[in-house]
Symmetry: C2
Subunit: 192 residues, 2 copies
């Protein structure tokens, strides 16, 4: 980053302004780890900071050969609600993210992609979760059989791409990870 | 929801398809609670499901009297990175969300809003986090003093609204909650 980029400014030069003093993991499952660190902050204060680490994931915006977007109607236990989502899933150890895209697209949505294109990467929730989402646009998708786990209650449907964009813009897709992924693909969807 | 809405379909009629058998909280801080539930799923399987609960929050898209958006350049310990964000914060017990908007806008960004408008609500990450974000557009914002806590390392800056939208669309605002909030306000920003 150039020092002439005044929008960012001199504060960025101190890239790691906090120091980790101790670190433990008071709760761990195969899908998440809670970190509890004691940290010296930029003010000199010693604080305890807890956050959740989750596996890095891919988020897949799947567009079919007939110009529709595959959407999942999925039951989500943490919020006890049915939600509109796109296929997403964790990148396994050593797995190429494009392979994760093809695997999750098939398992969750029963889709086989003609082509897969990387769009961008974002974080789930910087202040409380350590997790990245890599967004991929899958095009030329053809539908085949799904392969859901007992923890996945998912119905696959499809809507015209323009309708999926309308739903995302209107706040009808209330899962932030799905809505943002769709909106970030908008310039690549050939509409608008 | 009407039964003739075939896009949603009959599966929604069974609104709570999973049954909670046991529920505990193995890790709790003032800012988060980890839930570990045993659950009977729609397949009849008994599984353990862990997720994080966090306070419901407001996300504030602040536009100044001179047509700029206030952005925060904030250090986020969980990902050890500096990020572009908007002001956000937890709704306190019994607090009116509009009061939270005005309080957090002042504390985090030193902004006083002329008017505050509710836009929409989304969830952080349906599969792992129980938390809602209510998005508000704050207009006619004037800048005053911030009031940061020792756990907040934040520099307030402002960019033209069109530039903030460009940054969000381009994936430069990598915090999903901030980027999505800005994009959901786009139709109300008088640009495009």
């Amino acid at each position: 980053m150039s020092k002439s980029d005044t929008r960012r400014g001199a504060w960025d030069e101190l890239e790691q302004p906090w120091t980790t003093l101790t670190s433990e993991q008071p709760y761990v499952t195969p899908w998440l780890a809670i970190h509890r660190d004691t940290v010296r902050t930029h003010t000199g204060d010693e604080i305890t900071y807890s956050y959740m680490e989750r596996p890095d994931c891919v988020a897949i915006v799947p567009v079919t050969t007939t110009g529709e977007m595959l959407l999942l109607r999925q039951y989500r236990y943490p919020i006890r609600a049915w939600c509109w989502e796109i296929p997403m899933g964790g990148i396994e150890e050593g797995e190429d993210p494009e392979a994760t895209v093809r695997r999750e697209l098939l398992e969750e949505a029963g889709g086989r992609a003609g082509s897969v294109r990387y769009i961008t990467t974002f974080y789930t929730a910087n202040g409380a979760v350590r997790q990245q989402y890599m967004v991929y646009l899958a095009e030329g998708v053809e539908r085949s059989q799904t392969d859901h786990e007992p923890t996945e209650l998912i119905h696959v449907t499809s809507v015209p791409v323009a309708e999926a964009l309308r739903m995302a813009h209107a706040g009808e897709i209330t899962d932030s990870l799905s809505a943002l992924s769709i909106l970030l693909c908008e310039p690549n969807l050939g509409i608008g």
